[in-house]
């Protein structure tokens, strides 16, 4: 089908070709994306802060440098949406929480410095579950974000705003964070590419902490090539993060060869069936179809069992809240953020009222859970026990990787669920993370790429998990599959909620 494509519909690598040959300017790209934001964000609510002046200045700078004949990095001029979790010097950063409303960081996160140096354009801050705690972006103090494929459904979470923005072409690329699936699960729900790097591959300096032994920053993009280009921007050692890996960074675009011959791929039984309960049949069928396709392309595929993955949810929901209860102790109304205005008798009461007013229900629930799991008398039964089972989960992965190069399965057991469907049942919400949390517990790299659609037209993601620092093998398989399957060319068209409830689908 030949039709004129708007600039906002293109990928970053397509725009990079047009920009470097001066067929378009960064300013024109920005204007096109801005027009798109103006027409659809009222329906989607992907953004909670727009920074047009910042982006215009960055676009001007890119265009001036290009006019002077400077050779610019590949991503220079690409409009970027940022999850509201990165410290950005001079730009409000709230982490989706009332307790940080008005907080203007005095410094940039490492990944923000890298994006500035590469000439990306900062469109604004995207909506998220408060402190990244959630799987639907409904736990934001700023209201929910909607799924561009169906406005009655959630985009997934916690990086739901960033993912919805890329899905609806309100941004060319975006960044999220993934502590238990917060990049991959929404990428799966919205049919875009999302990657969580190996723990330590990308610096966490200046990224607001949720669970420090699990948090990683990663890209959200329209295709696998853009994902590799963004990983080139983000990856690398940073001495300000003591868990940052001091290892060489490859050019990830070199991994993009459409050939999986000889790769040994294992379909993880516990991803398909958690504690005996199978994933949604449409999800299972799409994933099995993708495995068949990879086999046709030359990979060797078999099924593999990692039995301790059946305990991922309790392990994760003990360890992550335990780390969070400690990390979030800093929000006490003293150094930054909200402080109660109620009369108080002493400083303890000031802390308690400040935190009661500033935190939402899910954040409080997890602080309570974590505090309890770490408290005297319960530490051994919960935190220690969960840390030991975490070792067993990692050992299961190590064993599976002895004779596999990659592991695959679904990203989430279902397609995107309806707004409000799981908000009153925390355990049901937590179970939508069964396939993603074990990867964070193991510290492994993983990604979600589109592998099909349900009968209702909702996207389904394929989960690809790599060995530690195995991003290149993962990207190679993702690229080979994507090029043969072509699901990545479908675009969601969100219709204004005032006109119709259902969004339409077109092929670009």
């Amino acid at each position: 089908m030949s039709e004129t494509r708007e600039l906002y519909d293109l990928t970053a690598h397509e725009l990079s070709d047009l920009l470097s040959t001066k067929q378009v300017s960064a300013r024109e790209v920005l204007d096109s994306v801005w027009g798109r934001i103006t027409s659809v964000d009222e329906s989607l609510h992907s953004f909670i802060l727009l920074t047009r002046q910042v982006a215009e200045k960055q676009a001007l700078d890119v265009d001036e440098r290009r006019a002077r004949g400077e050779r610019l990095p590949a991503m220079a001029g690409a409009p970027l949406a940022l999850k509201d979790i990165y410290c950005t010097k001079g730009i409000e950063t709230t982490c989706g929480s009332k307790i940080l409303s008005g907080f203007v960081p005095p410094y940039d996160a490492d990944v923000i410095e890298r994006c500035r140096a590469h000439g990306l354009l900062f469109l604004g801050k995207t909506n998220m579950d408060e402190f990244a705690m959630g799987s639907s972006t409904e736990n934001s103090s700023r209201g929910a974000t909607r799924n561009p494929w169906d406005l009655e459904r959630v985009p997934g979470g916690s990086s739901g705003g960033s993912v919805a923005a890329v899905t609806a072409s309100e941004a060319i690329v975006a960044m999220g964070t993934d502590t238990g699936g917060s990049i991959r699960q929404p990428a799966s729900f919205c049919g875009v590419v999302g990657l969580k790097p190996t723990y330590g591959r990308v610096s966490r300096y200046g990224v607001i902490a949720f669970a420090s032994s699990l948090d990683q920053v990663g890209p959200i993009t329209k295709d696998v090539r853009d994902c590799a280009l963004m990983l080139n921007v983000l990856a690398g050692h940073d001495s300000r993060d003591s868990t940052s890996l001091d290892v060489p960074t490859p050019d990830y675009t070199q991994a993009l060869i459409p050939d999986v011959k000889g790769l040994r791929i294992g379909l993880v039984r516990e991803f398909m069936e958690y504690q005996g309960v199978g994933v949604d049949p449409e999800v299972a069928a799409a994933v099995r179809g993708a495995v068949d396709r990879l086999e046709e392309l030359g990979a060797t595929c078999d099924e593999v069992s990692l039995p301790h993955l059946n305990y991922s949810i309790p392990v994760y929901y003990i360890l992550a809240p335990a780390e969070a209860s400690s990390n979030l102790a800093r929000y006490d109304g003293v150094q930054y953020g909200h402080r109660t205005r109620q009369p108080i008798a002493d400083i303890i009461e000031m802390y308690r009222k400040t935190r009661d007013e500033g935190f939402g229900a899910e954040v409080k629930r997890r602080i309570m859970l974590g505090t309890y799991a770490l408290s005297a008398g319960y530490y051994d039964a919960y935190y220690l026990k969960a840390s030991q089972v975490r070792t067993l989960i990692r050992r299961d992965f190590d064993r599976a990787f002895e004779d596999h190069d990659l592991l695959v399965g679904p990203v989430s057991p279902t397609v995107a669920f309806r707004l409000g469907e799981k908000t009153e049942d925390p355990v049901a919400m937590y179970l939508s993370d069964v396939c993603t949390v074990p990867v964070n517990l193991g510290g492994l790299p993983a990604m979600s790429i589109p592998c099909g659609f349900s009968g209702d037209g909702l996207p389904i993601g394929l989960h690809i998990v790599g060995k530690p620092l195995g991003e290149e093998t993962m990207l190679r398989a993702a690229y080979a599959y994507e090029q043969s399957a072509d699901f990545h060319r479908r675009r969601a068209v969100p219709i204004d909620t005032r006109e119709g409830r259902r969004s339409a689908v077109v092929r670009a």
């Binding site: 907080f103 203007v104 005095p106 410094y107 190996t198 723990y199 330590g200 032994s213 001495s239 003591s242 868990t243 890996l245 301790h308 305990y311 949810i313 309790p314 392990v315 929901y317 003990i318 102790a329 006490d332 109304g333 003293v334 150094q335 930054y336 953020g337 402080r339 108080i344 002493d346 400083i347 303890i348 000031m350 802390y351 308690r352 009222k353 935190r355 009661d356 409080k364 629930r365 602080i367 309570m368 859970l369 505090t371 309890y372 919960y382 026990k385 969960a386 840390s387 030991q388 089972v389 070792t391 067993l392 990692r394 925390p426 355990v427 937590y430 517990l441 510290g443 492994l444 530690p468």
Partner: protein, 95 residues
């Protein structure tokens, strides 16, 4: 029930959270259903298994003990809800 409303109140104090009676009731029931879900971990034999606290084995990552530039007092205090001179202001702690 693994957790009573009194224990919930105690944990809330440890966590420096305040809650209404209605919130305490809701949290007690929700936290209990989550803790019940956690009970299955008891089935796992972890005898002799070392706990894992980080995905990558690293210890004592140190840098040279050299001063580097840091935030100015004004930058560090720009977000303070209450500031007096170059200090954060808090309610009286010592009587």
């Amino acid at each position: 029930m693994l957790l009573t409303p009194e224990e919930v109140e105690h944990v809330a104090l440890l966590a420096r959270l305040e809650m209404t009676d209605e919130e305490r009731e809701r949290f007690t029931s929700q936290l209990n259903s989550i803790l019940e879900h956690f009970e299955q971990l008891r089935q796992v034999d972890t005898t002799g298994v070392p706990p894992m606290s980080h995905a990558i084995a690293m210890s004592n990552v140190l840098r040279e003990d050299e001063p580097t530039p840091s935030l100015s007092p004004d930058d560090a205090l720009q977000n303070a809800p209450d500031r007096s001179d170059d200090y954060f202001g808090v309610p009286r702690v010592i009587e």
